[in-house]
Amino acid sequence: MLKIAVNEINRLFDAIAAVENLYLPVEKGGEVEFGAYSADAKVRLDALQTVKSAKDMFFPFSENLMKFHVEGKQISVEAAEKVNEEFVVFGVRACDARSFSILDKVFLADPVDTYYAARREHGVVVSMACSRPEETCFCSAFGIDATKPEGDVVTWVADGVLYWEAQTEKGAALTEKVAEVLAESDSAAVEAQQAAVKAIMEKLPLAGLDLSYFTSRPELEIFKRPEWTELSSHCLGCGTCTFVCPTCQCYDVRDFDNGHGIERYRCWDSCMYRDFTMMAHGTNRKTQVERFRQRFMHKLVYNPKNRDGEFGCVGCGRCLKKCPVNMNIVKVAKTLSAGGEQA
């Protein structure tokens, strides 16, 4: 294990930034998001979570796919360049770190999404263990260890020291590049923190969330539960839950007319929207109940069914914090589990 004092952490960031593009949690207008490192960036490693999740670094909110230029009768097409330089995403929490493997199964499956694949290939994930989980966290329900996140490198911050350990070849390669600012260390402080945080994790109000109902009952039975109507009664169809969610993966492709041509881009979409998967004949989900149900069926039923029992949720709790009407996956899961026949 390696280490560096937190009050010297800029030496580490400078060392990384000297060899790779570095992104990490930075504060802007009072909120924290992943952003580029610079000397005057307000780095906020103390923030438990960013508003948008770290998926933004690999499957961005919006990205250009191609441009069409029109000049007289000439139309030229220019494909957007794929990411081809290494970059580091520093400070990814365990929940977000797990979300990458859920997204991989969608975007790296045939047909491979080459934009996403390029970012995954060139991106190095430096994760950071949690020392102060919140009451909304329930990553443990998905077998995620918040005290030792996945990632190419894992870090811990304990008693003013940042500890660093490579977990993959990519991580080892990055470690070599920045080795001069890191010192050897034993792991006593890390182990002590891990034990303390594990004890807290057990005490969290949502720690024992049981999702077995969703993998043990027939899909159609869950789909037809009358409770969907009540659960969705106040849903605004705003899409906040999908935009802050690290595992939501739907996107739209649109054209933007910039006055001299067209920029074709893709951006996050939301199954909570009326025009989601709109087709010539209209939409398949005409009511908010149906849209709402789709989001949670996807996460709790279709995902585990099609992906070896893996749920489409990592328990980050963002939707619990951000839904304007306080509706979220935990309430859906508890309501349906409580009223449902058990296997």
Binding site: K28, E33, F61, E135, C238, G239, D252, K321, N326, K331
Partner: protein, 327 residues
């Protein structure tokens, strides 16, 4: 609040039993002590109704779609909610004959995000203790001033009087006082005092956080267009993302213009914004200007007065005054 809750449950049961209404738009307890989710109740589950210091969500807009049945729905309206309700009635978006509006008292609603922003996390319990809140967390006890963590609209509460309602749970004169923690226009004045460049930078920093989730628009009681121009594929403006800085600004500026003179300053936009963008400041700037140009006006104060921007009187200020004033 406990006595009020008891009175409320009694009153609701009475209205359900005598057939005045068949359901209630209220709030329901959730996972956490501060979790009060808007929900609909019937006789069967009315004992799950909650009314405490976290019931900030404004129920008025919900009525646009909910108050369409033959049987009336009971709407529990805090004093501020009655302004939104009036405005919706005035714009014929809610049919008051399908609603039974019960005015309920309020002593200020807490914004738990403000508590969390103070670094108080892992919250397991919150108790009122005079002017303070005592907060229990998994990391130990903490406390803060209630005035520091109220919803933006409650900091500058319009007062304890209801401006609409078929009935009041308790007469307004007997209701407890509502909080008053800040000057409503202080922040607007601070922005006005900035140089143009400072002000532009302030808004760019804030608006560039926007993820176009539409929560502000969808929660807004003044935004009730059936198809918003920003969703209408034929408008040429429909988008799910802000493509440029210009679009980022435009979405909010258009929205602020469209609700100008109709916005009651209920603050739902700021309450629901996941990025904590102080959207209410755009609306308050409009309100301040309207008050200065056309005389004091409060949208939603009644259901009949013509709005300052939708009527013409000889006293209206000359457009040139507006032109000159704008730098």
């Amino acid at each position: 609040m406990r006595e009020i809750k008891e009175l409320l449950v009694q009153k609701i049961n009475e209205l359900l039993d005598n057939g005045t209404v068949d359901r209630v738009a209220g709030w329901k307890a959730g996972e956490f002590c501060y979790d009060a989710a808007p929900a609909v109740f019937t006789k069967e589950n009315i004992d799950e109704l909650l009314y405490n210091g976290f019931c900030g969500a404004n129920q008025s807009k919900f009525l646009v779609n909910a108050a369409t049945t033959e049987n009336r729905i009971l709407a529990l309206l805090k004093p501020c909610d009655t302004y939104s309700y009036n405005q919706l009635v005035k714009e014929h978006r809610v049919d008051p004959s399908r609603v039974y509006a019960l005015g309920i008292p309020c002593t200020g609603m807490v914004d738990v995000n403000k508590i969390k922003a103070l670094g108080i996390t892992g919250i397991t319990g919150i108790e009122e203790d005079g002017e303070n809140l005592k907060i229990a967390t998994i990391y130990g006890d903490a406390s803060c001033k209630k005035c520091d963590v109220l919803l933006e609209r409650c900091m500058v509460c319009k007062g304890k009087n209801h401006v609409a309602g078929d009935e009041m749970l308790i007469p307004d004169e007997e209701a407890p006082e509502t909080p008053s923690c800040a000057d409503r226009m202080a922040e607007v004045a601070r922005l006005e005092a900035m140089t143009e460049e400072e002000r532009f930078n302030f808004w760019r920093e804030q608006l560039s956080k926007c993820i176009r989730c539409n929560a502000c628009r969808n929660a807004c009681p003044a935004c009730t267009c059936r198809t918003c121009v920003f969703d209408n594929a034929k408008s040429g403006l429909a988008a799910k993302v802000n493509n440029t800085d210009f679009e980022e600004n435009m979405f909010h500026i258009i929205r602020a213009f469209h609700v100008a003179g109709r916005c009651t300053d209920c603050g739902e936009c700021s309450r629901v914004c996941p990025q904590n963008i102080p959207l209410h400041l755009l609306n308050r700037k409009f309100i301040k200007d309207i008050n200065e140009f056309y005389g004091e006006f409060q949208a939603g104060a009644d259901t009949t007065t013509k709005g300052p921007l939708t009527s013409f009187t000889k006293e209206d200020c000359e457009p040139s005054i507006v032109m000159e004033r704008g730098e």
